[in-house]
Each structure stands twice: as C-alpha cells, then as structure tokens.
Symmetry: C2
Subunit: 218 residues, 2 copies
C-alpha cells in the first residue's frame, strides 16, 4: 500500500480541478478565498497556496488585490497553447527518439487502435485518458526534466480547459489515424519528421478548438 500524506493544499487543488472538469467553475468565474474556505471547512491559508499553484499552471488568473479568476482564454490563446505544447513535445520526442524499443512502439500502436474503439463506443472519458497516456509515454521518454516539466504543465492546462471538446473533434478513424502518423514517424527514426508531425498534431487540434470556441461565442 502506498501511504499518501496529503496536505490540505493538495486536496484543494484536486477540488478546484474537479469543479473545473464538472463545469461547476467556468472561465471567468471568480474564486473567492473566504467562500471556498468556509465551504471546505478550512482556513484561507491552504486555499491561497492552492490558488498559487493553479496560477503558476496558467489555469487561474490572478489580479492583485482584486481576485482570482478562472482563466478565460481567447481563441488565439488557445492556439498558442497548443502550438507551444507541440513545440515542447515535438522536441521531447525528437530527443528521445533512440529510447523507443520495438516493444514500446508496438504498445503505442496498440493504443491507437484502442483509441479508435473507445471513440466508436462513445467512451469519451476513457478515450481522453488513453490519449493523455499516449502522449505522456512519448514525451516522458526524454530525460530532459525541464522540458518534461513544461510539457506536463501545458498538458494539465489544456486537459482542464478543453476536456469537454477533446473527444468530439475528430471521427473515431481520424483519431486513430492522427496518432498512427506519430507512431509511424517514431518507427522511422527520422527526428525531423517526428518533430514536425507532433507539432502539426497539436496545431490542428488547437485551431479546431479555437474555431469551435469562436463560433460558440457568436
């Protein structure tokens, strides 16, 4: 058994995280420290620490002496986040390209097939989880902690912000295909190609979500 020793702060982070996933907190909403403290039955100190953490992840926007607000990203901000993610993960994959075994590649390939199935059967949450795992398996192979750290931060950010869209942007076969392209690139061992195709992967999704958001707000 793993003994976990959580502070209030960590639990508050999870709480806010879940509120965002459930849609109980929406972009632009203000998070009032006192209100949340009372709601959770704790003091403001750990709330503030948790908010700090979320601010550094770009999930909450903080205006001094005014308040903490759920980040409200413009379409351009969305594209920019995805582009940056692509740049980071693209390089991470390139950096790690020699660390992929045949077994590892096969495993990634099987995941793409699994994604397609999950998408077909409407299991959106599992699909998103698997997608996250797929990408994490790739960028985590890089031994560059700095790079991996930034990538993870962006991963959390986009997960939270666009959770609800991710599973419905592409058809099941498109989802499989898009990820198979990455696996093929990794298999080829061509560093340039790997980097380029991961960049493109995120650029496409970024622009799709941004367009969706834009039309939604009209």
């Amino acid at each position: 058994m793993i003994i976990s020793k959580t502070t209030y702060e960590e639990q508050v982070i999870s709480f806010i995280y879940n509120c965002l996933l459930k849609g109980e907190l929406k972009p632009g909403d203000q998070i009032k420290e006192n209100r949340l403290a009372i709601k959770l039955g704790i003091s403001r100190a750990p709330i503030r620490e948790a908010l700090r953490e979320l601010i550094s992840n770009g999930i909450i926007e903080y205006r001094p002496r005014v308040g903490n607000f759920v980040m409200n990203l413009s379409p351009k901000d969305i594209v920019d986040s995805y582009i940056t993610r692509g740049v980071l993960e693209g390089y991470a994959a390139r950096d790690a390209i020699d660390n992929f075994s045949v077994y590892g590649i096969n495993r990634l390939y099987k995941m793409t097939e699994n994604m397609e199935e999950l998408a077909s059967s409407g299991k959106h949450i599992k699909l998103i989880d698997l997608g996250d795992k797929f990408h994490e398996m790739i960028f985590s192979r890089s031994g560059n902690k700095q790079l991996v750290g930034f990538t993870k931060k962006l991963s959390i950010k986009s997960h939270l912000m666009f959770f609800k869209y991710l599973a419905m942007l592409y058809s099941p076969s498109e989802i499989g295909e898009r990820h198979k392209i990455i696996v093929d690139a990794l298999k080829s061992g061509n560093a340039e190609q790997v980097e380029a195709c991961i960049r493109n992967h995120y650029y496409e999704t970024g622009t799709k979500i941004a367009n969706l958001k834009e039309t939604e707000s009209k």
Copy 2:
C-alpha cells in the same frame, strides 16, 4: 513617474533575487521562512507567497514539511535548461520572423557590436544586461504569450543561476560573432536556419557551463 504599488511579496522576491545574485545565497542553502521574516521585519505569509513564486520558476526547490532550498542543478540539469530555452526561443524567433523590420535587424546588429565593446572593456554586468535585452527583443516579437511566458521564466532562472559565469565563457570577439550569426539568420528570413542557430547558441552555452561546473566540483 511610475507609480509602483508593490506588495511585500514582490519585495521579498526582489530581496531573494538579489541575495542570489550577490552570492549570499548559494545552491543548496535552506531558506527558513521564520528567519527571513524576522530579518525583513514582516510576517511569514508574504515570505511564503514569494517562495511559491520562486518555486514555480524552478529557482527554489521545495520539500514538503522539510524546507525550501536554493535549487542545486546537476550538470545535466543545466544543459537541459539551456536546451529547452533554445527550443522555446528558437521557435519564438521562427514564429516572429516576418515581424522584424530592417530597422529592427540593424538595431540587433548594433547590439552585437556593443556587446563586443563591453566585453573588451570588462563591463560584465552591462554586457549581461545587453545580452538579455538582445534575446528578449527576439523572442518578444512572437505574439505567442504562452511561449514568451515560458521563455521568460527560463531566462530568469538561467540568469540567476549562471550570472557569474556568463560573461567569461567566451572571448569578446566570440560573443560578438555568436550573436551576429543569429542576426544574419534573421536577416536571411530562413525560418529553419533561425530556429537551428538559436538552438545551437544555447546548446553551446549550456554544455560550456555544465563542464565548468563539473570540473569545479572536483
């Protein structure tokens, strides 16, 4: 006059920042909240907020319930930070390549000449400032806030950690030359070349500093 309404937190950040630059705080040192609070005549709350900020910048390492320590980077960590910086700034420059006017390019070129002079006359602090300004002028041209934000964080981190080495790694003419390569690439308008040469720029410096650190510790 610029009216600055600073909180204690910001001032504490500056204070720690300066201690690091002056070498009064060294990698591995523990920063005790209470001690610092007494020293500055304030309470622990703003100290903790400031530490949070520095933690998120990768400047301070935090071990729960143990303490806050000035980050102690291994040679590999150093190289990794510089590589990541190169990846980010490289893409930022590539992204911004059409935003450079002839005037802007000329200004960058003059800065490289100025760097050479400052290096020759031993004005190390001004040299480093100018170097920072040079690179900031490049990556800030990108309109990608996410990208620029990460780049700035890394910029602060490396500035703090390696301030003392930066001015003595290269000869004055090397310093000029290294930066002129970047200006030339920007002038050429070749996106691939710009990205590659900025990556290389940081990779070189990263490995140099890492080697210096390694031999130093023996």
